[in-house]
Amino acid sequence: MIKLNNISKYYENKFIKTFVLRNINLEINEGEFISVMGPSGAGKSTLLYIIGMLDTASEGEYYFYDEPVHKMKEKKLTELHKSHIGFVFQQYHLIDELTVLENLETPLLYQKIKTSERKGMVADLLDRFNMVAKKDLFPNQLSGGQQQLVAIARAIITKPKLILADEPTGNLHSGQGKEIMELLKKLNDEGTTIIQVTHSEENAKYGNKIIKLNDGWIEK
């Protein structure tokens, strides 16, 4: 599904190149649940953004379902990104001005899905996440865990093949964290590929493979 060949990322500042990722080679198959670990500043988020097509690599090749992402124009990238990938962040990143329901609805709007169908999908998801009672609340009226639940719901509402989660439990206490991890596990069981970044050994165990990143290198 995902193939990275010699991917590097650097920032150029006054002619000095600062490498964040170096010669990353990686292959991820459909259905895998990968945990990325490593010290702060190792480049974990950067790797996730590149895989998620939110950022571009400085060098190297990236194939997504055998399509060369590194050669794509912005329009094609956005298209590919929005139809295949869901994102979850440590800071939830919900839209403050929108209610829970509207937050869930927005990705569908961007995909130009018809109203009736959209309403159905949102209702299903609210039901599944037990959030029907909270659907008209705004993000700041929810607890952190609840916000992260909404964020995950938003990430999966378009039924993406791949979910990228950057420290999804980082801001939550362990009880809530566990709930989120169970949810991700369940999604993986249903066939969604998941890549998560985490600092916790315990959470890493939910995955079937761990990648250790250090100073931009993958540790073998």
């Binding site: 988020s45 939110l54 950022d55 956005t78």
Partner: protein, 794 residues
């Protein structure tokens, strides 16, 4: 999707109430001013457009005077109109229009009304101009004496729903039969005809000119010329015609001026010229100021929008992550900016509708919307909407949607980097504001200077009258009039003169020293006047003596000159100097008066000589007691009507005449002040909004600084420093430009203030003061806030 845009827009506008309000208010006011100016331009430019023959209608005005002396008369001699109707191939139609005067009409129910826009006209006028008859027609309605036609409004006013045709109105004890009603003419015509009576009625009423060719100024004479006629040829034919009929001598002084309808509107009023005049100065100054204010408001809008969108920086990132395309994001931004602009337009249009009447009546115009104006205004509004929204919305839209989402989500470091745009736009705003403040102050100072400087004449309580007749023919009446007036104890002084300060006419002649170089002569203004001229106007004699009846040589052989004349004739010992006038006439200088301003401060004082000459008293000045003014004037009127029967009694106060010299400058000043005030207000509320934005952004920084020991003073300085620097930068840009432009304007005035440092200092101080008070509130609030709270808030 649209519903979603609407929802988001409404929520974010509501969430940022202050910003929304500032944007809508500022833009709205800018739009109001622009609409005001736009309609004003359309209004002024469409004068007499309703006339079907507009391009080929001309009025035959004439200049009268000897040598350099010139008076422009709007009307011509009564015999000219009929003479043109035949024998001139280029003339299709010709006709006369005579002002009906001030007498009252008596309605059938004996009610009396006074009408301003009443004229006696030749029947041809009905075809020459465009009238839409409701009853009656342009062929026969005014062919008989004592017929009168009315506009619809007047007909309704007098007769309600009854048919007025066949009813009568009484005027000067004659019955006029109503033979037609026509649709009201638009307001923007130079001749607002509301009641028209047949010209032939004048003769039937016994009003007849004895010498219809040797008379001037009464009958507005219009011709409809065939297309492509040569105006030059026609002009010389006119001169020939007058020479043949009025005699060589009269014709010498007459020069015809063929005025197109546009000329009539844009040329300064001449004698007997009805209707309001256009003023191009107004147009240019107002239009450019309105545009400045709108630009300021637009910058405000962009400024605040970008400031606000940086708040949404993260949101933009999130939206991209969850699948928004760049186009979708741009659409959302544009939708929001279009909504704000639309709201501003609605607000601006309402404000315009509420205020336009006041504005127009202030400028002496009456605006009535007509369909074609509304269409062009609507188009302009929509265009404005589009441009403003596009400019204001596109910057943040393009700028923010460009970023790669990883960057936007991770941090908001871009805010500081992209400061330059807001910096530039704040500086631009304040540059314009400082420019306007400086301009307004300069105009104010110059007008104050002109109004309050000593003009060398005592102009209070002096009544001015002018004669519409050759004074040679009324020499005896003049003496009678003078003696009659002097019986009134409220009349303190009286003098006749060729012209008086406040009445525009000039009489220049050449003069030279008897003993000087023979070839060297200078041009001077001659004021033929009566013995009491200097006394009545309280001119200051600085040397020599006043005219005296006891001195037989004073009549004609003595002159009094002003200081400028002393200088320009280079007289070392003015009293007793002998000068040669008209090539051969020798006169002696008996006195020198201090310079006095006859014209506005725009003109330099001319060298001027005063001499006694009873043959040319066209104008009279009467100094009256400052008590019982109304009574005194009515008794003067009675005397006038008794002695100069048949001549209109038209008077004005000399002080008003002087004020009128500056009325257009004063209007510019007042409108400019309002505009400037609005510009400053808009800039300042923009600044206020911007400061509160910065305050929110910096809450954390300020909190941290306070925890580490910064005092309130430090915080306020931290806050205001950048703004003060920007405003000073704005001043540095604005002042030289303002200096240049105001100096150009001041060059219109021969007597003017010099641009001094105080105006500049006042402008800078004013701007800083206003701006700092706009900033100050937020700064103090931020500085005094509890730091722990601020940190926890984050």
């Amino acid at each position: 999707m649209l519903k979603n845009y609407i929802k988001i827009t409404i929520r974010s506008l509501w969430k940022n109430k202050l910003f929304s309000f500032i944007n809508i208010f500022g833009l709205g006011v800018g739009i109001t001013l622009c609409l005001m100016m736009l309609t004003y331009v359309i209004y002024e430019k469409s004068y007499d457009n309703y006339q079907k023959n507009k391009d080929n209608i001309y009025r035959l005005a004439f200049e009268w005077g000897k040598g350099g002396s010139k008076m422009l008369f709007a009307g011509a001699m009564p015999a000219l109109g009929p003479a043109l109707s035949s024998n001139y191939p280029e003339v299709e139609l010709a006709g006369r229009v005579r002002n009906g005067g001030e007498d009252e009409f008596t309605l059938p129910n004996n009610q009396k009304v006074q009408e301003e826009n009443f004229y006696f006209v030749d029947p041809s006028i009905l075809k020459l101009f465009t009238f839409e008859f409701i009853t009656g027609n342009e062929n026969s309605s005014l062919s008989d004496p004592f017929s009168i036609i009315l506009c619809e409004t007047k007909a309704k006013k007098y007769f309600g729903n009854e048919n007025p045709t066949g009813k009568t109105l009484s005027f000067k004890d004659h019955l006029f039969k109503i033979t037609g009603v026509y649709k009201d003419l638009p307001y923007n015509t130079h001749l607002r005809c509301e009641l028209l009576a047949s010209y032939s009625s004048l003769e039937a009423m016994g009003i007849k000119a004895d010498k219809p060719w040797n008379q001037w100024g009464e009958d507005l004479t219009y011709v409809l010329l065939k297309k492509n006629s040569s105006l030059k040829d026609f002009n010389s034919k006119l001169d020939e015609l007058v020479k043949a009929n009025a005699g060589e001598q009269f014709a010498q002084d007459v020069k015809f001026v063929i005025q197109s309808l546009d000329d009539i509107h844009w040329t300064a009023a001449s004698f007997g010229d009805p209707g309001p005049k256009g003023n191009k100065n107004y147009l240019y100054i107002f239009l450019s100021t309105a545009i400045l204010v709108l630009v300021i408001a637009c910058f405000n809008f962009m400024n605040l929008s970008t400031a606000r969108y940086f708040d949404n920086f993260k949101e933009v990132g999130i939206r991209k992550v969850i699948g928004a395309t760049r186009v979708q994001l741009i659409k959302q931004f544009l939708f929001e900016s279009f909504s704000v602009t639309l709201a501003a337009l609605v607000f601006g249009s309402i404000l315009f509708l509420i205020t336009y009447n006041k504005f127009y009546s202030y400028l002496g115009a009456a605006y009535n919307f007509n369909r074609s104006h509304i269409a062009s205004i609507l188009v302009t509004i929509l265009l404005l909407l589009f441009v403003i929204a596009l400019i204001a919305g596109s910057y943040p839209a393009l700028f923010l949607s460009k970023f790669n989402p990883a960057q936007t989500i991770k941090n908001d470091f871009m805010i500081n980097k992209k400061f330059s745009f807001r910096q530039v736009s704040t500086i631009v705003q304040f540059t314009f504001s400082v420019f306007l403040i400086l301009g307004t102050l300069t105009v104010y100072k110059q007008i104050d200077f002109m109004k309050n400087s000593d003009i060398g004449i005592h102009k209070e309580n002096v009544v001015l009258l002018s004669l519409h007749q050759n004074p040679q023919e009324s020499k005896s009446n003049y003496e009678i009039f003078k003696n009659e007036l002097q019986k009134n104890s409220d009349v303190l002084g009286f003098t006749g003169a060729y012209t008086l300060p406040g009445i525009n006419s000039r009489f220049s002649i050449s003069i030279k020293k008897q003993d000087g170089d023979n070839s060297k002569s200078s041009k001077v203004q001659l004021i033929p006047a009566d013995y009491d001229f200097i006394k009545t106007l309280e001119l200051k004699l600085v040397n020599g003596r006043d005219f005296s009846k006891e001195m037989s040589t004073d009549a004609g052989e003595s002159i009094i000159i002003n200081e400028t004349a002393v200088k320009s004739l280079n007289l070392n010992n003015p009293i007793g100097s002998k000068l040669i006038m008209y090539g051969s006439k020798i006169v002696t200088v008996i006195g020198v008066v201090k310079d006095f301003h006859v014209y506005s401060f725009q003109k330099k004082i001319d060298p001027c000589i005063i001499s006694i000459n009873p043959d040319s008293y066209f104008t009279y000045a009467i100094k009256i007691n400052d008590k019982n003014i109304a009574q005194t004037i009515s008794s003067i009127k009675d005397v006038w009507n008794k002695i100069f029967a048949g001549q209109v009694f038209e008077y004005k106060f000399m002080s008003d005449a002087y004020k009128a010299l500056y009325s257009s400058e004063e209007k510019i000043q007042n409108v400019l002040s309002v505009f400037t005030l609005l510009a400053v207000i808009i800039s300042c509320i923009g600044l206020m909004g911007f400061t509160s934005y910065v305050a929110v952004k910096k809450t954390k920084e300020i909190g941290v600084r306070k925890v580490f020991g910064a005092g309130i003073y430090n915080i306020i300085v931290l806050f205001s420093r950048q703004f003060v620097i920007w405003i000073i930068a704005a001043c540095i840009i604005a002042i030289p430009v303002a200096f240049y432009v105001t100096n150009k304007w001041l060059e219109n005035f021969a007597y003017r203030i010099s641009m001094d440092i105080t105006i500049i200092i006042i402008s800078i101080m004013f701007t800083l003061l206003v701006a700092l008070s706009a900033i100050g509130y937020r700064a103090i609030k931020a500085a005094t806030a509890n730091p722990i709270k601020a940190l926890r808030y984050e």
